[in-house]
Amino acid sequence: MNFALTIIVDGLIEASWLFIVALGLTLVFGVLKILNIAHGSFYALGAYVAATVVTMAASKGLPPALSFVAMLLAAAFVASAVGLMLERGLLKMFYGRDEVVLLLVTYAVFLLLEDLTKLIWGVNPIYATQPYDLFGNVSFGKMYYVGYDLVLIPIAILSGVAVWFGLNRTITGKIVSAVIHNEEMSASMGVKVKRVYAFAFAFGVLLAAFAGALTAPKISVQPGLSSDVIILSFAIVVIGGLGSVEGAAVGAILVGLARATSVHLLPQAELFMIYFIMTAVLMFRPEGLFKRETARRI
């Protein structure tokens, strides 16, 4: 019983930050129809900026609570600035091209960012563990959890609800949904599609960077982070259905639990399990769990 609880709690912790990353990926796909391989790089960028800010704050003697907030803000700001510049400066040149070509453009961006982060921060791992002790330890019966890990869960739920609310209950959200459904029609209704694209992309990047900043104290920030994260968040959005917020949540929980289960029971099978689930979902419901099939044109 205790064992099952351990797996579930570990799975949910894992799912929480993965969900935030996947949320950004699925939004960008929904609006721009781009499967963004560079999304993992923005996660890494967020983690790097956060680690730098935390180290700076610690050397200045600021209290950890303040540096926690500072690192989140800084990471989100830097990454979304970079994201906005990329969308306006680069991606817009490729709109209207084949989706595979767009995928390759983001692959090129991934390669660029990979080396740029190495140039700026070097290849050695960076640690920013100060905020990790912020919320103390929590005990469940015989088990102890780091409070910081548990705090991630409500943060993820909050982000999910906020995005869902923003998309479904606000005017801005309605406009974005209109662009998702039919961009030509919304353009003719006076929606500035260009602007929606830019903000949707920047917002997706912001989510990725936010997740990166949140997890930075948990991990060692080093090269290779981006390709690991993108491959996990790909699996999540494909399982849930590309472009679906609810799907991303279910996908993240599935992947989180699958990871935790295999780590505890069968450590050999971790990546294998996740991709096995993804393949199974694709085989039986290629549109993902949460997306209706669309009629095709003949």
């Binding site: 209207g96 390759l104 961006v109 080396d115 294998f272 991709y275 694709l282």
Partner: protein, 330 residues
């Protein structure tokens, strides 16, 4: 490829290219070997892309071929280079026969995602299988050719180069014949509209499957060649960035010409080794800029430099009218 070029002339060109290796300096020789083997797998992607489906998981077959050859070489001691290429092709071809029919009904981004997922399943399994050396992989002995063992490294390099160039060259000739054949032409029709092909009484799924298996065979042979060149295999063969690089070569080449695949592969290897030499820490940066430049300025790939109007009918439906940018509907 020019319409008039006879297969016999092409065979002559391939033999010429293989013998030309005698005149090349050592570093060019190994570069050309890698380029030839990458061209082979990218050629498979081009063959498949003519049906409108791009595989982001050719690493699966690359690894299947490589591991198949490596295991058979270590267990039964088959070291002959030509036999190894054939074993690699057969291993992956059989895997392709199993996966092809299952995957053929998917199109577009789902096809790409599914192939990617399958290759990552393979990667995940390989990384954790202790019997196959886990993430470190294992080593394989030096290949021989028709009973001759090569102790001199220069001779061994040349042998490898010759085998790679001849294999890739033969595959290129086969692909040219395929492109001109009924199957090749109907593959283009599947890309344009698979439902209409079905209405004509053909099975679009079967056409995609056949092309998929061909791509798998090419990838397996390429895996065998890569294994011989490195004499080492590890799960990285199946990782998604490896597959991404092959798609990169295919896109660089464009989907119109077999010759362009070779040119693109050589271009990529040159860029890689020169940036390795002069900018050792930023070669991915150079690669990324190179890729963006090609997509931006040569949207139909390197092949479009010498193939122009004649293939206009076959081109990708890339020019979807972009109206969202200006907000004006025509």
């Amino acid at each position: 490829m020019k319409q008039g070029l006879h297969p016999v002339v092409m065979i002559g060109l391939v033999i010429g290219a293989a013998l030309f290796g005698r005149a090349l300096p050592t570093w060019t020789l190994s570069l050309a070997t890698v380029a030839a083997s990458n061209a082979l797998i990218a050629l498979g992607i081009v063959v498949l892309a003519r049906t409108g489906n791009v595989s982001f998981g050719q690493g699966l077959f690359f690894a299947a071929g490589g591991y198949g050859v490596a295991l058979i070489a270590n267990v039964w001691g088959i070291t002959d280079a030509v036999a190894q290429v054939m074993i690699g092709a057969v291993c992956s071809g059989m895997l392709g026969l199993v996966i092809g029919p299952l995957i053929a009904r998917y199109t577009g981004i789902f096809f790409g995602m599914l192939t990617l997922a399958l290759s990552m399943v393979m990667y995940g399994a390989l990384v954790k299988s202790a019997a196959l050396g886990g993430s470190d992989g294992f080593n394989v002995g030096r290949p021989s050719l028709f009973g001759m063992a090569f102790t001199d490294t220069r001779e061994a390099d040349f042998m490898l180069y010759a085998v790679s160039v001849v294999t890739t060259g033969l595959a290129g000739i086969a692909a040219t014949i395929l492109f001109r054949s009924e199957l090749g032409l109907v593959s283009l029709a599947v890309r344009e509209n698979n439902l209409r092909v079905e209405y004509l009484g053909l099975s679009a799924n079967r056409i995609v499957t056949i092309n998929f298996v061909i791509a798998a065979v090419f990838a397996g042979a390429s895996g065998a060649l890569a294994l011989m060149a490195q004499r080492h295999i590890d799960p990285q063969f199946a990782y998604w960035t490896t597959s991404g690089e092959f798609v990169f070569v295919a896109v660089l080449a464009g989907y119109q010409s077999v010759a362009a695949v070779f040119v693109a592969s050589i271009a990529l290897e040159l860029v890689r080794s020169f940036s390795n030499l002069y900018l050792p820490n930023t070669w991915q940066l150079v690669l990324g800029v190179f890729l963006l430049g090609v997509i931006l300025f040569l949207p139909r790939g390197i092949g479009s430099l010498w193939i122009r109007d004649r293939h206009k009918k076959n081109k990708l439906p890339a020019q979807i009218p972009v109206t969202v940018d200006t907000g004006v509907v025509p």
